[in-house]
Amino acid sequence: MIEVRNLWHIYDGKKEALKGVSLTIGNEIVALVGPNGSGKTTLAKHLNGLLKPTKGEILVDGLDTREHSVAELSRVVGYVFQNPENMFFEENVFKEVSFGPKNLGLSDEEVEERVRWALREVNLEGYEDRHPYSLSGGEKQRLAIACILAMKPKYLVLDEPTTGLDEKGAESVKKIVRKLHRDGHGILLITHNMELVLELTDRVILLYNGEKAFDGGVKDFFELNLRDYSLDKPALLKISSSLGLGFFRDLESFLDSALRRVSQ
C-alpha cells in the first residue's frame, strides 16, 4: 500500500503546489484528475522519490521515500512519463527495455527474461529489433510501459497514457492497463480524459489548487458539478442523464438499456 500523509510541497520556498494531501493507494486503478496546475505531477513525483516532501511523509509498502533513493524506490513504484520519446535513447526496442533491469544490477539472463516478459505483457513481441522512434504512437506508449514494467514494480504511475493517441492506440493501452490490474498491480492514472476515467477506474481522486477536493467512487465522482473544477462530463453520461437512464460505464451497457427502453 502507498500511504501519503499530510503531504506539503513548496517549490523554491514560495509556490505551494500541495497543501496537506493525504491518501492511500492499494491494488486498484485510481484516477488522479484535476485542472492544469492543480498538483497532479507534483504528487506523482513524490511516489517514487523524484521529489521529497516539504512536510508530511510517504510510505511505499512501509518504505519512507525520504530515506530511499529514486533508484531503490523504482523497484516498487514505476513511473511512466507523459511523453515516451523523452526516455528513448537506444537503437532498438530490446536494448531500450533492458536499460531499467540492467540498472537494477541483474544478470544478463535475468535481464533478457524480463525484457521478453515485459514485451509480451504489452503485446510487443516481435518488435525487439525495431527502432523505438519508428513505432506508432500507441506502440511507443506501450514500449514506455514495458521499459518500466521490466523493473517489476508493484505500483505503476501512468501520466496521460492516452493523450495524443488515436482510438486504436488508446484502446490498446487501456487493454494493457486492465491486464496489469488483474495481475495485481496498483495503478495511478493521471489523466484529463474523463471517458478514460469512466471506463477504467473504480476510484477517483480530484486535486484542486493543491488540495484533495474529492476521493471516492467513480459514480459519485460524476455526480459532482465538474464544471466547478474546469472538468467536463463524458458525453455518454450527459446523454444518458438527459434521457433519465442513469449511470453507465461503457457504450454497450448504455445501448442495451436504451434499446430496452425504446422497445418497451
Binding site: 514505476g78 523523452n86 535513447f89 531499467g100 521499459c147 523493473m151
Partner: protein, 251 residues
C-alpha cells in the same frame, strides 16, 4: 518556469529605445575589454550594477540570480592567473579583473533581455541595419534556453525513474551516464527546430526582402539624450585609456 526573460517594469531602461540599449550594451562590453586593471574594472562593474538597479529597477537579488551560475567560472579564471602571471598576488589581482569582465558580460547581456521585449529587440536589430535573420536566430535561441532547461529536467527525471543514478561513479562512468539524457534531448531539439522552420515557412518567412512592421519604434528626445551621454562616456573612457593610459596594466 520562465518562457522568456523579459520582466514587465515601469523603468527608465524599459522605456528606452531598443537601438539605444543595443548600442549601449555593445559599448559597455567594449569598455570592459578596453581596460584590464581592476582599478578601472571594479568601478565600471559597480556602475553597471547600480544603473541596472536604479535605471532598470532590476533588484540586486535578481542580478545575483544572473551572476550566480557565472561565479564558478569567475573563480576559476581568478585562480588560474597566479599560475600564469608572477608574482602570484599580482596574478590574482589581474585575474580578479578578468572575473569582473566575465560578470559584466553576463549582466549586460541579461539586462538587455530583461528590459527589452523580444519583439523590440528584433526591431532594433533591423533598424540598425543588421540582417533580420541574425536577430531572429539569436532571440529564438535565447528564448529556448529555459524551455531546454525544463526539458532536460524532465528527461533526467524520466531516466532516474528507470534506475539511472547520475550522481554515482567516477568521472568516466558519469560522462557515459549522460548519454540517456543527451540523446532524447538532441532528438527533441531537432524535432522542435524542424517544426519551427515549418511554422516560419508557412507564414511566408523570407518571401519579401523588405519587411514592413506592425509595431514601429521611434527615437524620442530622451533616447537622443541618452545616446549622446552614452557615446560621451565611452569616448571619455577611450581617451582616458589611450591618451593617459588609465586602467591598463602592461604585462
Amino acid at each position: 518556469m520562465i518562457s522568456s526573460f523579459y520582466v514587465e517594469r515601469d523603468s527608465f531602461l524599459h522605456s528606452l529605445d531598443p537601438r539605444v540599449k543595443l548600442v549601449a550594451s555593445f559599448l559597455g562590453i567594449v569598455a570592459m575589454i578596453l581596460f584590464n586593471s581592476p582599478y578601472a574594472l571594479l568601478p565600471l562593474f559597480l556602475f553597471i550594477l547600480l544603473s541596472l538597479r536604479f535605471l532598470g529597477k532590476i533588484g540586486f537579488r535578481e542580478q545575483w540570480q544572473v551572476l550566480k551560475p557565472l561565479v564558478p567560472l569567475m573563480i576559476i579564471t581568478m585562480i588560474v592567473w597566479p599560475f600564469i602571471l608572477k608574482p602570484p598576488l599580482f596574478g590574482l589581482f589581474f585575474g580578479f579583473g578578468y572575473a569582473l569582465r566575465l560578470g559584466a558580460l553576463g549582466l549586460i547581456t541579461f539586462s538587455l533581455l530583461l528590459t527589452t521585449k523580444q519583439r523590440d529587440l528584433i526591431l532594433g536589430f533591423i533598424k540598425l541595419k543588421m540582417p533580420y535573420e541574425i536577430g531572429l536566430t539569436l532571440t529564438i535561441a535565447l528564448r529556448y534556453i529555459p524551455t531546454l532547461y525544463t526539458l532536460t529536467m524532465t528527461i533526467m527525471d524520466a531516466q532516474k525513474s528507470r534506475g539511472l543514478e547520475l550522481e554515482r561513479g567516477n568521472f568516466f562512468t558519469r560522462v557515459r551516464k549522460t548519454i540517456p539524457v543527451l540523446i532524447p534531448l538532441i532528438i527533441s531539439s531537432i524535432k522542435t527546430a524542424h517544426e519551427l522552420s515549418i511554422a516560419l515557412e508557412s507564414r511566408a518567412f523570407g518571401t519579401k526582402k523588405k519587411r514592413t512592421f506592425l509595431h514601429d519604434i521611434k527615437m524620442e528626445l530622451r533616447d537622443y539624450i541618452s545616446l549622446t551621454v552614452i557615446l560621451g562616456l565611452f569616448i571619455a573612457a577611450a581617451v582616458l585609456r589611450y591618451k593617459y593610459g588609465v586602467g591598463y596594466v602592461r604585462i
